[in-house]
């Protein structure tokens, strides 16, 4: 970083740059009047940044590339097709740009410039594709979406030839909600527990589970559907239903959620768990009060992203849910439709109104995924251990309460919980601080280390477990000190 920053400022003003190169040149014995010439090779290389000649070459090359393509397509060669035009124009642009840059730069810099443009266009192409996919769906959905009945009716009374003022996708929306609720009810507890298992109980077996789960993240969704079809419908003799579809979506979502949650849990700072363990908390309290709250936002993101994937899957539902045009709120009996399945069935019809309905349903599905995604980003925008203001205030309040409570207990060695707010610290202090001055050397270090940890959740870990430090304060104190010191030393 610093290198880049230095260089951005430097070469705009060559004379100012001279002092940088001066010692070296003095040693080489270059005379002062040739200095201006000799400085040139010593100008540090620019990395990134915009120059006027660079911008001009890009635009010049773009214009001439376009002209070459027009010439080739219109006059000289029998090419055709919009995509072919763009490909040709782009290749011509790259070639001309390389030549233009080559006029004033050496080979290395030309390669750098050209590759920079190529990478920009790769990024641009990717995001253009995304915009095109989303925009096209929304654009084609514009015919169906303005009708209120599209959201309130099902397709039972509407035939394929009926106009868009009849029928809607209420049944599919309800079906999606029910199926994803079933899938979440299975996936969230099981998936999070499994992720905690992978993190908290290491060993050969959990490594094996992790390998299997990672391999299963790309499980073809239709195979998940086939599996539920084989077990639920063929072996157990149940009928196709929303419940079966929920199971199929769960099988598909489980590995995704476990993997994402596993990654998030691994990011929980070891200092926090070790501080909690050093305070004598059993493993389950450490997990419940330290690990999970610290990773809360990341876990929410994992679940929401898994949900977004699960909502959009068609093929497991296709095999297990059956198809109906009627509203069905009972997941245990009768076929049920989800949004993607409805889209799939609508667009298979040749009727334009049905296709318009399909695009409308796809736009609704897209909006749903988008909303889930934005929620996930808002919740999970921060890394583990970072709190927003409200969370920080709440944690501070909890710590303050604890501090008051422990101060009332008159326990020596437990004045660990200063929360940084002075007036409350003062209120809680007097009984404790008197004790504290008796053995300052033993106590001050662990306290410092504890408060230096990035989360205020750690103190709450000891909530209902004051016993171990009570029993042997000195032992607990030294252990805490040694452990946290070692851990902080490692992590910083």
């Amino acid at each position: 970083m610093t290198v880049v920053d230095l260089e951005k400022g430097a070469p705009q003003n060559a004379p100012q740059n001279a002092p940088h190169g001066a010692p070296g040149k003095a040693a080489e014995g270059i005379s002062a009047d040739t200095d201006a010439v000799a400085v040139l090779p010593d100008v540090p290389r620019r990395i990134g940044g915009v120059t006027r000649s660079g911008v001009l070459s890009v635009f010049g090359a773009a214009a001439s590339g376009l002209c070459v393509a027009v010439l080739l397509f219109g006059e000289l060669a029998p090419f055709s097709g919009a995509l072919g035009f763009f490909v040709t124009a782009y290749l011509a642009f790259l070639g001309i740009y390389a030549v233009l840059t080559g006029l004033e730069e050496n080979g290395q810099a030309v390669r750098d410039r050209v590759m920079t443009v190529v990478l920009w266009s790769a990024g641009g192409l990717m995001f253009a594709a995304l915009t095109m996919v989303l925009g096209f769906t929304a654009w084609r959905g514009r015919e169906a979406l303005p009708h209120a009945n599209f959201f309130t009716q099902d397709m039972q009374a509407a035939g394929p030839l009926d106009p868009l003022t009849h029928g809607g996708i209420a049944h599919a929306m309800l079906g999606t909600i029910i199926m994803i609720a079933i899938a979440l009810a299975i996936t969230v507890p099981l998936g999070l527990a499994c992720a905690v298992y992978l993190n908290q109980i290491p060993g050969r077996f959990s490594r094996f589970v992790r390998t299997i789960v990672e391999a299963m993240t790309a499980l073809p969704s239709i195979v998940a559907g086939l599996m539920v079809y084989a077990v639920w419908i063929l072996n157990l003799g149940m009928q196709k239903s929303g419940l079966a579809a929920g199971f199929a979506i769960s099988v598909m979502m489980l590995p995704i959620v476990i993997r994402a949650a596993d990654v998030v849990l691994r990011l929980v700072p070891g200092t926090l768990t070790e501080a909690s363990e050093a305070l004598g908390a059993p493993r389950w309290r450490t997990v419940w009060h330290v690990v999970l709250p610290t990773a809360r936002s990341g876990l929410a993101t994992a679940v929401i992203l898994g949900t977004a994937r699960g909502i959009g899957e068609t093929s497991p539902v296709l095999l297990t849910a059956g198809f109906t045009a009627a509203l069905n709120a009972d997941p245990t009996s009768g076929p049920m439709v989800s949004l993607p399945l409805a889209v799939f069935n609508f667009v298979k019809s040749p009727e334009p109104t049905m296709i318009a309905r399909g695009f409308g349903a796809a736009a609704v599905l897209m909006a749903l995924v988008l909303v889930l995604f934005v929620i996930a980003r808002v919740i999970g925008g921060r890394g583990p251990g970072h709190q927003n203001k409200r969370q920080a205030r709440r944690a501070a309040r909890a710590s303050r309460r604890d501090a008051t409570r422990f101060a009332e207990l008159h326990t020596p060695g437990l004045k660990l919980f200063e929360t940084g707010s002075d007036e409350n610290g003062e209120q809680a202090d007097p009984p404790g601080s008197a004790e504290n001055h008796e053995n300052p050397g033993d106590d001050s270090r662990p306290r410092g280390a504890g408060n230096g940890a990035p989360s205020h959740h750690a103190p709450a870990a000891d909530d209902g477990e004051p016993t171990p430090p009570n029993g042997s304060p000195a032992d607990g104190g030294t252990r805490a000190g040694g452990n946290t010191d070692a851990a902080t030393g490692d992590s910083h």
Partner: protein, 340 residues
Amino acid sequence: MVSALRGSAGAESERPVPRRPSPARGLGDRIFRVQLTAAGVIVLAIMAAVGLFLLLRAGQALRTRGVWGFLTTADWQPDVHRFGIAAVLTGTLFIAAVAVTISVPLALGTALFISDIAPRPLRRTLVSMVDLMAAVPSVVYGLWGLFFLQQHVIGLSRWLSDWFGWIPFLHVDGTQPGEPLASQSVYTASTFVAGIVVALMVAPIQCSVMREVFAQAPAGEREGAYALGATRWGMIRAVVLPYGMGGIIGGTMLGLGRALGETIAVYLIISPVFTIQPHILQTGSNSVSSLIALHYGDASAFGMSALMAAGLALFLLTLAVNFTASSIVARSRSGAQSEA
């Protein structure tokens, strides 16, 4: 360091270890351990059940046909016991190959763009957009491919087959180069179109795996390259790409796994044929997953067993690809922290 400590504590819980850092286990901890282990076992059981039940259900069809016959027959008529996945499996592989060929340069370029080229304030937004792209439902991609992309690709397909038709797999039967009135329908619903759509679906996944690894390339080595006078592209070639090689291969394989299993987008675009179709620009193709989606509804009990066998083959194929991917990522230097 931390995990090593904890690991040894977990593994050698019986032997007396001096100064064990984990606290003494009470009843609560034992219950906790049992619950978590149960969760792990249940998840493992579910995942094992996928393979097990497919195998169980596929048994009948595989016994009738024999594994070799099942793999080499291109026809699909289970009710007269003439069926096999030679056509659909090669179709799946062709579509995946087209998808990976298109998506890898795109994903690699985008990943490098986000990690090294894009203006710093933009990067977080770009990362979110790539993740969003990975979350877009496949049926939406399918709609886009069917109603928008297909008609725009025909020109490119024709151009490719006119000029490069001498390459065997780009050849299209029934067309002459330079014949302007040739029917456009020979270019629709082809492996190529399906491959492009699947490429767009898997590129974000590949991109995010690659980007994560590139972002971990040690800053010390990056700045060292700059200090030696490298250009930015020189730095990328000397530091980021070698460091991220495992991520590139792993991400590619993960995308390949997804491309092999993609159902709905492929189903919407291709027109199914049951012969081996090596001409990727020509109409007609097939894949294992769209075969299942096409036939599950009208299948007899035996036909269902045959479909299960096809599903099993797809399952084993993706599993093999994914295992290879994760072991490559795990073994490479990618992700290792440097001292700098």
